[in-house]
């Protein structure tokens, strides 16, 4: 065996060990804990009225968040990449801020804007719109913490996208809209999907900001993560882990789906795992007639 091969082996086991130690082992531990009581217990835990309505609310809010951030994130990314305007560098720097701010602080910031004593809060209250301590507050918090995902995963693909493809489509008589939908969107789709899926799973797990801005009333404004916290605090670790594992399962499935959808053609998953011959990422602008 040459030193080169040895080095390769060492590097590979270091990478595998690192991921296993940090992510895989804790995952296995929590999954094991939640299934020790049997699958019946697991189903019972996640289907109590309070647990199931917390899960549904979380999925709903995460879905709305994902749709909004997909739309406005795409727009923002296009603007940031394609247009020159004063203050662009500043806007670009602001985008990463949600990653840097502790989520508890995010909650405080939202409460500071929409609170009942603020100008905006009073105005909204007079209009009969409740944001803080209600469902819109939850979505607002999720939007804030997930904002960078779509923008940051779209930016590089947008920058790479060769202008001449769009120009070619345009000069061959396609309308701006057709060009956008048939040329721009398909080429940036892998990036967009990454952003969208990451937004969704990140929103599912958000706790710090939501616990401040949502009213946390069980079955009304209590999301899954806050429910889990409550169960831990009231000596029900079993119920807490079951709901956590359910969220983990959804996140895992979403991420596997993402992996599957965005792989480049040559190195996709084994045949038995595929369900179509033409994965989305294979559709290249050149194949559109």
């Amino acid at each position: 065996m040459t030193t080169h091969r040895l080095l390769q082996l060492a590097l590979r086991s270091a990478a595998v060990g690192y991921v296993a130690l940090l992510i895989l082992f804790p995952l296995v531990a929590i999954a094991h804990q939640s299934f020790t009581g049997g699958i019946d217990h697991f189903i019972q835990d996640i289907s109590t009225p309070q647990a199931s309505s917390a899960l549904i609310l979380t999925l709903e809010a995460a879905f709305i968040t994902t749709v909004i951030n997909a739309l406005f994130g795409t727009l923002s990314a296009i603007v940031l990449v394609r247009y020159e305007f004063p203050g662009r560098w500043f806007l670009n720097a602001l985008v990463d801020l949600p990653f840097a701010i502790p989520t508890l602080v995010t909650g405080l910031m939202i409460a500071a804007i929409y609170g009942p004593t603020t100008i905006l809060g009073t105005w909204l209250q007079q209009g009969g719109v409740s944001v803080l301590y209600d469902k819109p507050g939850i979505v607002l918090a999720m939007l804030f913490v997930t904002m960078p995902f779509t923008i940051r995963s779209l930016q590089p693909v947008l920058m790479e996208l060769e202008r001449d493809q769009e120009e070619a489509a345009f000069s061959l008589g396609a309308s701006p809209w057709t060009t956008f939908w048939k040329v721009t969107v398909p080429s940036v789709l892998p990036g967009l999907l990454t952003g969208v899926f990451l937004t969704f799973v990140r929103a599912l797990g958000e706790f710090g900001s939501i616990v401040i801005v949502a009213g946390n009333i069980p079955m009304k404004t209590q999301v899954a993560s806050v429910y889990v916290y409550g169960e831990i605090e009231s000596y029900n670790p079993q119920g807490a882990t079951s709901v956590s594992v359910f969220i983990l399962l959804i996140s895992f499935l979403v991420l596997v789906l993402l992996e599957r959808l965005t792989r480049p053609p040559g190195e996709r998953l084994p045949r038995w795992f595929r369900w179509s011959k033409q994965p989305l990422s294979m559709i290249r602008p050149s194949e559109i007639g």
Partner: protein, 348 residues
């Protein structure tokens, strides 16, 4: 820094830690819930250190940690080797006992192991604009009420118990003098009061402290919380007022040494003296300074050297059948609070 001075520093450190091991300084770890932090840090710990030094000539170093009662409990069960636990709920101390860390019956001490006391009270905005006097006023339409989530906050458990128990007392009152309502009708009334008040609750924070923060942010008309949480804030001129309802629950907070840890650290004598010291006049004065009530006030009202009058229809957890009974009755899967929340969410 040269190598020689580094060496000298190391030597000094070894000598210093050696003298600690020689028994001149004893070390005690205290795990407490966060509310009485000031009383401990400012008065009780320094006073105990003085007293111990006088009695034995030894210095005591007390490492204290403060946090939510439940979190401290879990930390201790999970391996935090505190010698003394001061918690907000008996149930939390029982959990530590159940984990095998407390091997003696902690309820055998003076005042049954309790060291501080308070009642559940109401905080309202300055001038009491909504005219809040008692529990029924909290159920009026248009009154916004705050208390934290009983799942995460021991304080909120006391709050809900206070409402439910007040409901039982009010049912007795309505039945008229001398007559006693049936247990079912009293319980039905208490549950309906709880439901009507819960309906007006808009925000349920994680802890009592957070609930007060939300109230100070301008949310809500009434906050239900410990009297000792409100008194110091009112004293420091926060714009709200204290209302003690005539029907409310007597709150007691326990303390105990943790046998497993004190034996391992060889500090049983210091730990026991510390818990005993919490019952002393000096420590009790520190608690009342912070808005607590003297521990004996409810059982022996004559000994009360406080300006705080006792509510007329005060009740205790024992009156309601003890914590085990009441927590199943209110917070169990089919408890009154649990079903109330579920019914309200379903629009019933």
């Amino acid at each position: 820094m040269g190598a020689s001075s580094l060496f000298a520093l190391l030597l000094a450190w070894i000598i210093f830690s050696g003298s600690v091991l020689a028994g001149e300084t004893r070390e005690l770890t205290l795990a407490a819930y966060s509310v009485p932090k000031e009383a401990y840090e400012r008065t009780i710990i320094p006073a105990f250190q003085r007293q111990w030094k006088q009695r034995t000539g030894q210095e005591v170093r007390i490492r204290s940690s403060y946090g939510a009662s439940g979190a401290q409990t879990r930390a201790i069960i999970g391996g935090f080797d505190a010698d003394v636990a001061v918690l907000s709920l008996e149930g939390d101390l029982d959990q530590i006992a159940k984990a095998g860390l407390i091997s003696h019956d902690w309820r055998t001490g003076p005042h049954k192991g309790m060291v501080s006391a308070s009642v559940v009270a109401l905080g309202v905005r300055k001038g009491n604009p909504k005219g809040i006097k008692g529990w029924e006023d909290l159920a009026r339409p248009g009154v916004e009420v705050l208390y934290p989530n009983p799942k995460t906050s021991g304080g909120a458990m006391w709050d809900v118990v206070a409402i439910y128990g007040a409901g039982l007392k009010l049912a007795e009152q309505q039945a008229g003098a001398g007559k006693k309502p049936s247990a079912e009708s009293a319980e039905a009334f208490a549950t309906s009061l709880l439901k009507r008040i819960q309906k007006n609750v808009k925000v349920m924070d994680k802890s009592g402290r957070e609930s007060v923060t939300t109230f100070e942010r301008g949310v809500g008309d009434v906050i239900v919380t410990y009297e000792n949480e409100l008194l110091p804030r009112i004293k420091s001129h926060r714009p709200y007022e204290l209302i003690v309802p005539q029907e409310t629950v007597w709150i007691e907070n326990p303390a105990s040494i943790i046998d497993k840890h004190v034996d391992r650290h060889h500090v049983r004598d210091v730990a026991e003296a510390f818990v005993a010291f919490l019952h002393s006049e000096e420590a009790q004065a520190a608690f009342t300074e912070l808005g607590f009530r003297p521990i004996g006030q409810a059982t022996a009202p004559t000994s009360a050297g406080t300006a705080l009058p006792l509510p007329n229809r005060l009740f205790t957890i024992a009156d309601l059948g003890g914590w085990e009974t009441i927590s199943t009755k209110l917070f169990g899967p089919h408890g009154a609070w649990t079903t109330t929340v579920e019914d309200l969410a379903r629009g019933k």
